[in-house]
Structures are given as C-alpha cells and as structure tokens.
C-alpha cells in the first residue's frame, strides 16, 4: 500500500522531561489509515501519551523527548504541527481540560473554532445546531458549560472537536462520564464514521470490540499486541492485563465458538456463533 494511506510508527520512544523511564518505548507498527483503532492497556501503560504523540501535541505543545519516526499518511505530526493541527480533532480524557473556559454558553464554546476560521454566522449556527442534536445538547445550548454534568461536558468536548470536521480524530476515554445510553449512542455513531482515521482509548472493552477495526494493546509503554479484537482475545497467550469482553467470557464458558474455533468478541459474532440470524 501507498505510504500516503498508512499510519507508521518506527521505533518511537517518548520520555517526559525529568522522567526516569520512557513513557513509550520502541513502538513499531504499520497499518492502514482510514480505520478505527482502539487503544487498550492498564493504567500508566502509555495510552494518553500515545494519543498526545499521535496528535502531535507531543512534542509540539507538551515538551517531551521523542525518538524514532511517526508518519500519518504523508504528514509528519511531530515536526509540522501547524500543518496537521487543522486535520486533527482531539478529545481529552478530562473534558474540563479541553473547554476554553471563556465561552458563556455551550453554543459559543462549540462555535469557537469556526469563529476562528472566519465562517459566517449562519453557517456556524447550522453546524452548531446539527452537532448539538447529534450529541443531545440541544436543550443546553444556552447553558454555561461549567454547569453541565460530567457526561454532558464530555459530549460537548466531542462536539467541539468535530465542529471543523477533521479527518483524524483522537478520543482519549471519551465516554468515561457518560450514562449507558449516551455511551452506546456514541459508539454507534463512531462505528459509522468511515473514511476517517480514528484512535480511541476506553476502559469499556465491550464497546471497543463492537466498534473498532483493530486494537493496539499497550503495557508499560510497549505495544504488546495488535490486530482485530477477535484475534487479540483469542490468542492462546491472552494477556492478563485486560479483561476480556463479556461476550467472550460468556461464549467461552458456554462453548459457543465460531466456525474457525475462535470465540466471539462482538455482538454480531455472538449471533453468528449461536446460530441466530442478525
């Protein structure tokens, strides 16, 4: 495949200033862009650092020592952030870190990037309303962002990242504070985002398995596995680091295997393994 369609990391290491050890060590992977990649790992495994690196926030905004090579298609995010920043939407782990704190209403917070791009008031209004509908914020448009609940704030952070329609999206645990319905709506929406390159971390293993094309598993700063969710959880040396999805636990205990002997990790695979029509 043409390099312009690839995400490639070549022996990438990241160390924060003053830190004794690398936060990420020797990451090497080459994989197609325009897919949804889930990033899984225990605490301190480097998930957030990887998100920062993938977006170019490290080292462009946050200082860190980066070794190795990272390319996102033809772009070199670690070197040319101004160029790539336009293409990237980033949702922080803690939504309060992301909001400007300057906007008095949800609507103006969402409009922030569009105003900066000099778009017309009517275009901004249309875009803001469409996103507010998509992420259940229509009733909150005139509310102060500081008064939102945790889940609403997280939905606002997502809407703000999407407002410029970026080609690359990076979500660092975007649903941690959302209610179950909000979470399932988010992942259903995410699954339908085609032609974008999307990275998402979450502790919700079930939702990730149902949504992503591939998983990267981190432990102690190293990439210890990558592949489809089904392959990751069906490996004989399945890591103890990550709990398997409920689907896998259920199917493996009940002996519900797929034709090739793998146990299902998604709802669709569960239906297949148990002979149910979708």
């Amino acid at each position: 495949m043409d390099d312009s369609q690839q995400i490639s990391l070549n022996k990438v290491s990241v160390a924060y200033p003053g830190a004794e050890r690398n936060q990420l060590s020797d990451l090497t992977i080459k994989t197609p862009a325009h897919q949804i990649i889930g990033i899984l790992g225990p605490s301190n495994s480097g998930k957030t650092t990887l998100c920062r690196l993938l977006s170019g926030i490290i080292p462009q905004v946050m200082r860190a020592d980066v070794q190795g090579e990272y390319r996102l298609g033809t772009l070199n995010p670690t070197a040319n952030w101004a160029e790539i920043n336009r293409f990237i939407g980033y949702v922080f782990q803690n939504p309060a870190d992301q909001l400007s704190g300057m906007a008095e209403t949800v609507a103006t917070e969402m409009a922030f990037s569009l105003v900066n791009l000099g778009q017309s008031a009517s275009a901004i209004d249309a875009k803001v309303r469409a996103l507010a509908r998509q992420f259940q914020l229509i009733d909150q448009l005139n509310q102060n962002p500081a008064t939102l609940s945790g889940g609403q704030m997280q939905r606002l952070a997502i809407a703000c990242a999407l407002v410029t329609d970026p080609e690359v999206l990076i979500f660092d645990d975007p649903t941690s504070q959302m209610d179950p319905v909000g979470t399932s709506q988010f992942f259903a929406w995410l699954k339908n985002q085609h032609d974008k390159t999307i990275f998402v971390t979450s502790t919700n293993v079930d939702a990730l398995c149902n949504t992503v094309d591939s998983l990267w598993v981190l432990n102690a700063g190293q990439l210890v596995a990558s592949g489809t969710p089904r392959k990751i959880f069906n490996q004989p040396a399945k890591s103890e680091l990550i709990p398997a999805p409920v689907v896998f636990n259920l199917a493996s205990q009940m002996g519900w295997a797929l034709p090739d002997g793998d146990y299902p990790v998604t709802q669709a695979e569960l239906m297949e393994a148990t002979g149910h029509e979708r």
């Binding site: 225990p42 605490s43 301190n44 957030t48 782990q93 803690n94 309060a96 509310q143 008064t147 609940s149 945790g150 889940g151 609403q152 645990d173 941690s176 504070q177 959302m178 209610d179 179950p180 319905v181 909000g182 979470t183 399932s184 502790t203 079930d206 990550i242 709990p243 409920v246 689907v247 636990n249 259920l250 205990q253 009940m254 709802q267 569960l270 239906m271 148990t274 149910h276």
Partner: protein
C-alpha cells in the same frame, strides 16, 4: 448510621431543573445511585455534601442536620469523593495530601504516619508517596483522592462516580475496599453509570429521573423492570443485553449467574 431525607425540594437559579425527594432513608452498607446524565445524581450528592444550600426540607446525617455539620465534625461524619479528583487535591506530594487529611483526625505524629501508610498501602500508592499528585495518572489521582477519605475514616462515604477514570486493576482495589468498609458497618453511597457494577456488588439501588426518585430496591427488581429502565434511560447489565439479543429476557446479574443456570 443513617441518612434521612424529608420533603427535599431544590431548584437551581435560572434553570428549570429541580430535585424532589419526599422521603428517603439510607442505611449502612452499599447503596448505588443511578440515572441518566442530568437526572439529579450530582445535585443530590452536592446537597448531601452541603455544597448546595438546603432550600426546602431537611437532610439529617447520622442524627445531625447536614447543614449544622461543619469543620472537623463534618470530616469524621462524611467523606466526599468528587467525580474529578483534581477538585480535591492540593498538596505538593502524595504523602502530604493524605497527611493533611489524617491531621484533621489526630495531631499525634506517630498515629498520623500510621494512618497515612495504611491508606496509601490500601490503594497501592505507597511507592509513589513522594511524587507530586499532578504527575500521577488520572487513575492514580483518583485513588489518591480516595486514600484521603480513608485517612479520615468517616461514618458515611459519599462518592460521585468513584469508578470512572480508574483502570481495571484500580477498580478492583476500590471495590474491594468498599466491600470491606460496608462489612465494617460504614455507609457507602455511590453514584455510578456502571450497571455491571451495580448488578454484581450493590444490594440496593436508587434511580433518579428528571429530578425525581423513580425506583428504590434491589438490582434484580430494577433490571427486571423494563418500564423503569426505559423511563430512566438506563440499560441493564451487559450480560442481560447479550441475553436479550439471544431472545432470553430473564434477569441475570453476572455472566457466572447465566452460566450456572444454563450448564447442565
């Protein structure tokens, strides 16, 4: 050990949101508070915590009016864990953070040291005692905030979303401690969106919807009531969602529960 609420009515200024609780009595042990974003969980917590003014009705905590409790008396009665740990951490090192809390209980240096070591050991942060809290991961900062509660060892633990931002191992640590505290007769009131957690670990669950209490009972009763789940915008535990796909709408609280009922 109890929280008693009577005729509670609360409304925010410039907002049409209101919380109404005619009567509610919370005993010792584990109680989960669930509901959609914006259902009133955090408002309920802030009223219990005394962070919002009591407008109408009353709340008594272990026999005392909640808004009469101040200073140290409050700390030994109620421990508060905020959703965002950064709202409650302010010291230069992990150890100092917990020491500050322990010193609210005793000024005896040896006792303080012992409390701090015990709390940090429980949350597995002892080896990070000299680090700056803000160099820790979000998950560890949350554990640290929890350790400050353990240091004051209150009768009542009010925890707003204690599991979010925790990785899996840390969730296990916190759940283990909560169960231990409940066994010791402490009162633990937890708001959560994690229905799997509610199903496998909480004997009592209270559901809010649009500022009103719409359910108070066992997880088995809640997850066996599709009408209440739909009204409150909740989903059953994941195992039940999967079973529903397979045409089985019975209540199962855990995967093990399902497996044990279906294996010959």
């Amino acid at each position: 050990m109890s929280v008693e609420i009577n005729q509670l009515h609360f409304t925010y200024q410039n907002s049409n949101f209101g919380l109404q609780i005619p009567a509610l009595s919370l005993d010792k042990g584990l109680t989960a508070i669930v509901g959609q974003n914006g259902a009133g969980k955090s408002t309920f917590f802030k009223l219990l915590m005394g962070l919002l003014p009591l407008q109408d009705g009353n709340i008594s905590i272990n026999g005392k009016g909640s808004h009469e409790l101040t200073g140290r008396a409050r700390l030994t009665e109620i421990g508060i864990l905020f959703q965002n740990p950064d709202d409650q951490l302010f010291n230069a090192t992990v150890k100092k953070e917990v020491t500050w809390s322990a010193r609210q209980i005793t000024r005896d240096r040896a006792q303080v040291d012992q409390i701090v070591e015990s709390a940090l050991t429980k949350v597995e942060l002892l080896d990070k005692a000299d680090e700056n809290p803000f160099d820790l991961s979000l998950s560890d900062r949350k554990l640290l905030a929890f350790a400050t509660l353990l240091a004051t060892n209150p009768q009542t633990y009010l925890m707003d979303e204690p599991m979010i931002a925790l990785d899996w191992h840390s969730q296990t640590i916190v759940l283990h401690i909560l169960k231990q505290l409940a066994d010791e007769g402490r009162q633990i009131i937890v708001s959560t969106h994690d229905m799997d957690l509610v199903a496998h670990s909480f004997p009592r669950v209270i559901t809010f919807d649009h500022g009103a209490m719409v359910f108070d009972g066992t997880p088995t009763a809640l997850f066996g009531s599709p009408a209440i789940l739909a009204q409150a915008g909740l989903l059953p535990p994941r195992i039940m969602q999967l079973c529903a796909l397979l045409g089985d709408t019975n209540v199962y609280l855990t995967t093990e529960d399902y497996v044990s009922k279906h294996q010959a």
